[in-house]
Subunit: 198 residues, 2 copies
Amino acid sequence: MNIATRERLLRAATRLFADNGYRGASVRDICNLAGANPGAVSYHFGGKRQLYRAVLRRAADELADLGPRPEAANGEAEQIVLVDALRRLFQRMLSDDASTRLLLRDLADGGAVAVESLTPPLRTAFEQLAAALGHGDNPRGSAEGRLLFLGLAAPVFLLTAAWPVVARTLELEMDQKEALLAELVERTLHAHGGVETL
Amino acid sequence: MNIATRERLLRAATRLFADNGYRGASVRDICNLAGANPGAVSYHFGGKRQLYRAVLRRAADELADLGPRPEAANGEAEQIVLVDALRRLFQRMLSDDASTRLLLRDLADGGAVAVESLTPPLRTAFEQLAAALGHGDNPRGSAEGRLLFLGLAAPVFLLTAAWPVVARTLELEMDQKEALLAELVERTLHAHGGVETL
DNA sequence: ACCAAATTCATACATTCGTTTGTTAGAAAT
DNA sequence: ATTTCTAACAAACGAATGTATGAATTTGGT
């Protein structure tokens, strides 16, 4: 199990960092969960901080890989491919996995990692979305394009990060998160003259 | 300076907790910044955890007090009062003060405090908003009402928590946050048949 | 001015933290 | 067969943590 220790450390750290935050997860706990020594973190990553960075980077890349792929922009069935990618991404974000919780913590800490590794995939998603809905030329310059993007990204983010608050405010059941988001996204897309169903 | 020490502790703790998180802010640092002894936290609050709870509660209440007041619902100029309250609330949230950052951290930790003390003011805000825009009867039951609320809350939350990411994605300057939000809110309100300018 | 209560203080305690150290086992290379 | 090197280990380090303690000081009421 040569390279496996490093991988086990990464997995254990992802879970513990997501659950308890950076300072809340001790190196000992991580190494315990990974079945390694207390010094394994320093040995493999050079310290706790760098392990945290590695974990955050992997989480961000993992989420980013779910977004629309750049090469899909020229396909014939643009909207279908795009909508599929969006559906995957949204479902992943809505299920509170470790990656999403980690990025939320990073945002509370200033969002250094989020800015760096989430911006590129968000940009391609935005461009493809605008292209597929007809806001083709320079979507970033138009208020329409910005509204379209924020109309999708903002609700997903809100329901991901603060769903308990929203549910209590709107007097919804806790299991209606996906339904509410679907309703929201469908209306937003429709308002911008796009696909019928997500 | 009798009661002042307690207050200084609260202020110092608010800043340090917001900047470094719960575990990242040590009791010694807080007491140092407040000009008090290491034991002052235990004496005045009974421990670090209870100081944190007090700080979070105050931050949430502070934000909640900026929202629309319940008694304003029956005034004649409903929309004006409401819009003023919303403007105050939004500007406060957009300026990244300690209260907002603290609540973001609480959300990353599960949002226990946020749910408990942010839900009531959000609910009255929602009801008044729906009433002022004509979705009077049972706004929570209608998809229109939910969309209206989320159309306002979601962008504010996104721009508050993740503005650097959004700015980089849309290739906007960092100082255009308020402008973008104003554009968004205005369109959303207008789309729901409401006031012209926020 | 006096006393009792409340508050602040300096200090110390036990724990836990991240990291370093010296060493061992096993594979790779010579 | 001998050397070299990487990975993993147990142990221990110094530093920092939250809290407890008792003395010193300030405060407010009489």
